[in-house]
Structures are given as structure tokens and as C-alpha cells.
């Protein structure tokens, strides 16, 4: 955890080889049975932790967002294909875009926003990547270059009036190629008693998202926390400094590739592995 590159954690970043052959047995996991199966021409089934492999997919903007894949039937990883179900591979996709009618007053929100954006000279299709209605909640995926304009429209339009920026946080999807970092913004309209979620994605290589502090001053600390925890840079924030971790802390702890560190045990050199390297059934 020293130096400037703590992100190179225990979960290996996707290598070009892994991209070509997504189902690749890790050398230390291939036991003799699997080697035999490989020799017989069968594809070795080794369960790879979700998110550890670049799926080689182009960013999905209008379809359901794929964040990883699930292999096998019991969620276990790292112990070879002991169940025999390792050949089952299914993508993990977040709920896909919804089509009209969205239901409830979500249609009214979408209509108002479209009009407000048109007033600002911005087409809805360019600013809003997709609209997702799931679990009775409305999510707008906003293109990051238009986030501030969308925010202003949402705050000022009388039919929308999202006065309060309730929360800004992040989610790290290492399996969502080109859109690894998501900033999730929750808005509240006290006038209309509505809530709304904005989701803005940016790639790992260019972790920049415009700040909303100019629209809602309350976003200040929330954006600082998101920077602190995920390394998303909120451009235009007046003082984007760490808020929870110490100022000189290396790395961003909430990222999925952040090394967690194990605990050496005082018995014959044994160690307790870090939580992200223990066997899981998820």
C-alpha cells in the first residue's frame, strides 16, 4: 500500500491475453484433472472472480449495462470446477432501459425535462443516455459533458424543482469496460415529493465528471467523499480534497481493486488472507 499506485491490487487488471480468451485457467489453479481435460480438447472451466476479467465489450449505452459475469451454479470461485457446473456462464446486467410509458409520474418528469433541455438548446437524446425504471425508482443515465446543464434544468424547471441534492456517491464496476466508475446522484423534490437518481459514468483512464456544487452547494462534501473513496475527479469543485481518509493517504479505498491486506498469524508462518481473496459463495 505504498507509493502512488495502490490501485494495482491483488485482483489483477485485465491483460491483453485475458481479453482474447476470457475463460483462461489461472496457472496455479489448474489441477491435474483440469490439465487432463485441456489435453482432451475440453475447455477447462475455472471460475474467475466476477469483475476480475475484462470482457472485451464495447461500452453499452442504450442496452442493459453488463457489469460482469457469473460462472457456475453455486457462486464459489477459486477452487476449480468442483461442482461440474463451471460451464454455465451468464452475464450480469443491470436493469436495462425502459420504454414509455414509464408509469406513475415518471412520464411527466421525462416530458418536463425534455422541454427544459430543449429550452437550453440541448436535445434529450444527447444528454440522457437512457432512462431506467426499476423497483419504482427512476434513473437517468446522463452523459457527463451535459451533467451540469441537466442539473440546472432539474433544479429550476417549475415542473421538476429538484431543490435538494440528497446524495452523491460512487460505484466501481471494473467489469463495465470503458464505464468503470459511476457517480450516482440522488435528488429530492420537496415541491413535488419526488425522488430521482442520476447516474454518470466515466472510464478509469479519464475519471473526470463535472461538479454539481455550482447547482447544489450541498454536493460539496458528498463529492469530496466520492473523490476520496473512488478517485472520481469532480471538475469545478472548489476544494476537492480528501474528507474521510487522511490527506496523504494513497489510493481510493472503495474501489474494487483496492488491496485490503491480510493478517499474518503467529503460527508456522500462516496468514489470514485479505477478505477479497477468501473463498466466497456469492
Amino acid at each position: 500500500m505504498s507509493g502512488d499506485t495502490p490501485a494495482g491490487g491483488p485482483v489483477p487488471a485485465a491483460s491483453p491475453e485475458a481479453r482474447d480468451t476470457p475463460v483462461t485457467p489461472a496457472a496455479d489453479q489448474a489441477d491435474s484433472v483440469e490439465e487432463q481435460r485441456v489435453a482432451d480438447g475440453q475447455e477447462a472451466s475455472v471460475v474467475v472472480p466476477v469483475g476480475a476479467v475484462d470482457l472485451g465489450l464495447a461500452p453499452v449505452l442504450d442496452g442493459p449495462e453488463m457489469i460482469g459475469r457469473r460462472q457456475g451454479a453455486f457462486g464459489v470461485a477459486g477452487s476449480g470446477d468442483t461442482s461440474g457446473f463451471g460451464g454455465l456462464v451468464a452475464p450480469i446486467t443491470m436493469p436495462g432501459p425502459s420504454s414509455r410509458p414509464y408509469g406513475g409520474d415518471f412520464d411527466a418528469v421525462a416530458d418536463e425535462l425534455e422541454l427544459a433541455l430543449a429550452d437550453a438548446g440541448l436535445p434529450m437524446a444527447g444528454a440522457i443516455e437512457k432512462v431506467v425504471v426499476d423497483h419504482g425508482e427512476l434513473t437517468l443515465y446522463v452523459a457527463r459533458e451535459h451533467l451540469e446543464a441537466v442539473g440546472r434544468a432539474l433544479r429550476d424547471e417549475p415542473g421538476l424543482r429538484y431543490e435538494i441534492c440528497h446524495s452523491v456517491s460512487g460505484v466501481h464496476y471494473p467489469g463495465d469496460a470503458g464505464r468503470e466508475l459511476h457517480a450516482v446522484i440522488h435528488l429530492l423534490s420537496i415541491t413535488h415529493k419526488r425522488r430521482l437518481r442520476l447516474e454518470v459514468a466515466c472510464p478509469d483512464e479519464d475519471p473526470h465528471i463535472p461538479s454539481l456544487t455550482g447547482v447544489w452547494p450541498s454536493a460539496d462534501w458528498h463529492e469530496r467523499e466520492t473523490w476520496d473513496m473512488f478517485g472520481i475527479v469532480f471538475d469545478g469543485h472548489p476544494a476537492l480534497t480528501r474528507i474521510l481518509m487522511p490527506d496523504d493517504w494513497p489510493g481510493h479505498p472503495q474501489r474494487k481493486d483496492y488491496p485490503l491486506g491480510g493478517i499474518p498469524v503467529e503460527y508456522k508462518g500462516a496468514t489470514t488472507p485479505p477478505p477479497d481473496q477468501r473463498r466466497v459463495y456469492s
Binding site: V50, I67, G68, R70, G75, I92, T93, M94, P95, D134, H135, G136, E137, T139, E163, I164, C165, H166, S167, S169, V171, H172, V184, H186, L188, I190, K193, R195, R197, W216, P217, S218, D220, W221, H222, E225, M229, R242, I243, L244, M245, P246, P253, Q254, P275, D276, R278, V280, Y281, S282
Partner: protein
């Protein structure tokens, strides 16, 4: 302060020209300016230095300071007694709970979230469980008894939380009797929590799908649970006015809190402030009325508001809310009917059958006998459910409830596994602390204490 100046002047008269190295505090120059280490009574010698006159000094108040509500660090830029700039330093209680949640099952999550804002733990648990239940699609299946118990426990928790706010706030302003009264009354509620959940704090009692176990029928003295809770309500009804009477018309208390920490509705909207601070501006925004959950729309209570938008108004709002919470708890007692407290889904109801054992918690022997002796499948099922946990469908949900300090939001993301992919708590204290600058700048340093106490931040929730 006048005596200090007098003694300073007397001192100056005695040594008018040169305070001398023997009396001045040993200061040293840094790139940021001159730094003094003040120990004990050498303050006057610093103020005697003509070079220090009218200079702004930066005072770190906290993180270890008895009147900053825990490990809050206030960085105050002072000119004399006036606060020119106030900034908060937080993070001293950051424990990485959100990260830890990603390596535990969904059920184990309640054990962690209850430790965030430790004064309103049952709110954290409920908000988290409501969000998980929405992802599971079982929001409608949570049994009525579990819902009523959740509301009852939350409202009792609101009273105990407000009592701590009153008690510590009073202590910080020198009203020590309010402190002893507040903590005494809170103890009554913690006794109820211990009776129901087994623990005074950090309960992990509310679980996705319902409750960890049924409410006990009787208390440790063999008294009916409802009677016992009603007795506590009656005691609180009698005693809360005593605590209030200590302060409501108290000249000193009013002098310390009236007009202090002023933040009007516009400021609240800009800074995203909710809870008692927002209601002290006169705006009756309470999620229990506006966007109800857990069946709050069926309870009778009033939203308490004040119009002074200051620390005194927030104090009155909290007093009123405690009375309203007592009303709700009484209604809960009327509605508490026997029945299940966990969803009727063996894939989620975890652990299957709990009963209070001699140690206070434990599995019922009957259940163990059944799964060990007669049903191998039940044993396997129980084992897998406890060790692996249940899967939650892919998606995300945001659940907000009205916690004692404002709106508590929980954002949960699932990737379809047995552990959360991401959980974020939007804690009201975290957001509301942003108002410190707006409330304190331009005022006296002594009023910072009153203003921060009226925000009532709990650092466990702020730092998580």
C-alpha cells in the same frame, strides 16, 4: 473577559516597555505564520505582544474536545472572540463500514450498519432492510407485526436519540442537570431495547424480511411486555416535562441559544438540510408524512415546527417530537397483535427459528431437534442460508427514512450475489455538518458550541 484585560493592563503597567523573553510564550516562525504553544496561564503574555494585536489566530477545536459532540474537529479562524471562518475536519471515526459490508452477507450487513450512527441504530437497520427488501421484491410481504415493531422501536429510538442531543447539548452549555435528566430518561428506553433486542445499543435486530426474533411476551420480572412499555411511556410523560421545564423558560438557556446558529429555509434548501433544522424554519417536511414507509401514514401524530430557525427553535422541535413519538408508540402497542415477524419465505427468513435461551439469545431446541433429527434437507438448508446467505436480484435501490437528525438515505447495489455490491449511507449528520460555516461565521466562539450542538452530529454516522 474584562478581568483578563485588567490583569493584562496591570501586568503591562508593571513591565511597560518589554514583555521580555521570560514572560512571552516561546513562539517560532513557520511558513504559515508565527506559531505559539500555549500552556496554562501564559495567554496574556501573547496578547501583550504588540505584533499580535488584531491578528487572526487559527484554533483547532477538537477532535478531542468535550463540546464537539465526539471527534469532530472544528478549525476556527478567530479575531479575538469572533469567528471569521469555521471549517470542519472529519474522518477521525472512519471505520470503512461501507467497504466491510461488501465482504459480508446481506443479513450480516445489519450488524454493521447499526454501528454507523450509533445513537439511532434502529433507523440505520430499518433503512437498510427496507432497501434490501425492495431489491428482493418482498416489501409488501413483511408481516404486520414486524412493521409495527419496527415503528415502535424507531420511535423509542427517536426519543432516546433526542434525549442525548438535549443532554449533551445542555452539558456543553453548562446545563448539567439537563444532562443527568436526559441520560436518566434515556436509560429507561435502553432498558426496553435490552428487553426486546437483547442489547442496549448496536442491536442488529431488524433484518431483511422482518425481525431477528419475536418480541418477548414478558419482561425479566414476568410482567407483560405491553404493560412494561406502557409504564415507561407513563414515566416519560411525567418526567420529560421536568427536563423541558429546566430549560424552556430558562433565561440563561434562551440567551445562549436564541438567535444562535441561524439558518433559514433558503439556506436549508441550498445545503440539503433536513430534519429538526429544516422544521425549525417553519417548513413541515417530515418523510413520515410526506413519503411514508412502514405504514406511518396510518398513525396519528403531528409534525412539530418552529419559526425561529435557530438553536432554541431546534431544541423546541426536538422536545415536541419526543411527545409525538410517545403518541406513536402508544398506537403501536394497541396494534401489536400476535403473528409472524419474518417473511414467509424459507429462502430469506434467517435464521429459521430463534428463541431466547438461558444466555439471552440462541436457537430454539425444538428447531435444532427437528433439523438435526428428522430432516437432513432442513439442516442443509439452514447451513447454507446461514453460511452463504441469500441472493438478491441485480439492481439498485435508494430508501430514505426520517431519522432523528434528518433524512437517512441508503443506496444499495446488488450484482445478484449473496453479498452487497455497494452500500452507501447518506447520513443526515454528514450532510448537515456542512452548515457549520453558515451557522457560525461572524458569531462568537462560544456560540459555535451551541450551533454545533443544535445540528446534533453523531460522528459515527458522519464518518462511517
Amino acid at each position: 473577559m474584562s478581568t483578563t484585560y485588567e490583569s493584562g493592563e496591570a501586568f503591562e503597567a508593571a513591565a511597560p516597555a518589554d514583555p521580555g523573553p521570560a514572560t512571552a510564550a516561546p513562539g517560532y516562525d513557520t511558513t504559515e505564520g508565527r506559531v505559539f504553544t500555549v500552556t496554562g496561564g501564559d495567554w496574556d503574555s501573547i496578547t501583550l505582544d504588540p505584533a499580535q494585536e488584531n491578528e487572526r489566530i487559527v484554533v483547532n477545536m477538537g477532535p478531542q474536545h468535550p463540546s464537539t459532540h465526539g471527534v469532530l474537529r472544528l478549525i476556527l479562524e478567530l479575531e479575538g472572540e469572533l469567528v471569521q471562518e469555521a471549517r470542519c475536519g472529519i474522518g477521525y471515526l472512519h471505520t470503512g463500514i461501507e467497504k466491510n459490508l461488501e465482504y459480508r452477507t446481506w443479513t450480516q450487513g445489519t450488524t454493521f450498519v447499526t454501528r454507523m450512527d450509533y445513537l439511532s441504530s434502529l433507523f440505520n437497520e430499518t433503512a437498510y432492510c427496507l432497501a434490501v427488501e425492495r431489491l428482493l421484491g418482498i416489501s409488501d410481504q413483511v408481516p404486520e407485526r414486524a412493521n409495527v415493531a419496527r415503528v415502535m422501536l424507531m420511535e423509542l429510538n427517536r426519543i432516546s436519540s433526542h434525549l442525548v442531543c438535549l443532554a449533551t447539548g445542555g452539558m456543553e452549555l453548562g446545563a448539567l442537570t439537563a444532562m443527568t435528566f436526559g441520560f436518566r430518561e434515556r436509560e429507561l428506553i435502553l432498558d426496553l431495547f435490552e428487553l426486546v433486542t437483547g442489547l442496549r445499543m448496536n442491536h442488529a435486530y431488524i433484518r431483511p424480511g422482518g425481525l431477528a426474533q419475536d418480541l418477548p411476551d414478558k419482561d425479566d420480572k414476568g410482567q407483560d411486555l405491553k404493560v412494561r412499555i406502557q409504564q415507561t411511556i407513563d414515566t416519560l410523560r411525567k418526567r420529560l416535562p421536568d427536563t423541558a421545564n429546566l430549560l424552556v423558560d430558562n433565561t440563561i438557556w434562551m440567551g445562549r441559544t436564541s438567535g444562535i446558529g441561524y439558518l433559514d429555509l433558503t439556506g436549508c434548501m441550498a445545503l440539503g438540510i433536513t430534519g429538526p433544522i429544516l422544521r425549525s424554519t417553519g417548513y413541515p417536511w417530515d418523510l413520515r408524512k410526506e413519503m411514508p414507509y412502514c405504514g406511518y401514514e396510518t398513525y396519528e401524530f403531528d409534525v412539530v415546527t418552529e419559526t425561529s430557525a435557530d438553536a432554541y427553535g431546534r431544541f423546541l422541535v426536538r422536545l415536541g417530537e419526543m411527545q409525538q413519538s410517545l403518541r406513536i408508540v402508544e398506537q403501536c402497542l394497541d396494534r401489536l397483535q400476535p403473528g409472524p415477524v419474518m417473511v414467509d419465505d424459507p429462502k430469506i427468513g434467517w435464521p429459521a427459528q430463534l428463541a431466547l435461551g438461558a444466555d439471552g439469545m440462541g436457537n430454539s431446541l425444538e428447531h435444532i431437534r427437528q433439523i438435526m433429527g428428522t430432516s437432513m434437507e432442513a439442516l442443509i438448508h439452514h447451513f447454507k442460508l446461514v453460511t452463504e446467505g441469500f441472493s438478491v436480484p441485480v439492481g439498485q435501490a435508494y430508501q430514505v427514512i426520517e431519522a432523528p437528525r434528518g433524512e437517512l438515505g441508503v443506496h444499495v447495489v446488488s450484482n445478484g450475489g449473496t453479498r452487497p455490491y455497494r452500500v452507501h449511507f447518506r447520513d443526515p449528520s454528514f450532510n448537515n455538518l456542512q452548515a457549520v460555516a453558515a451557522m457560525c461565521e461572524g458569531g462568537q466562539i462560544a456560540d459555535v458550541v451551541a450551533a454545533v450542538a443544535s445540528i446534533d452530529p453523531v460522528m459515527g454516522g458522519v464518518d462511517r
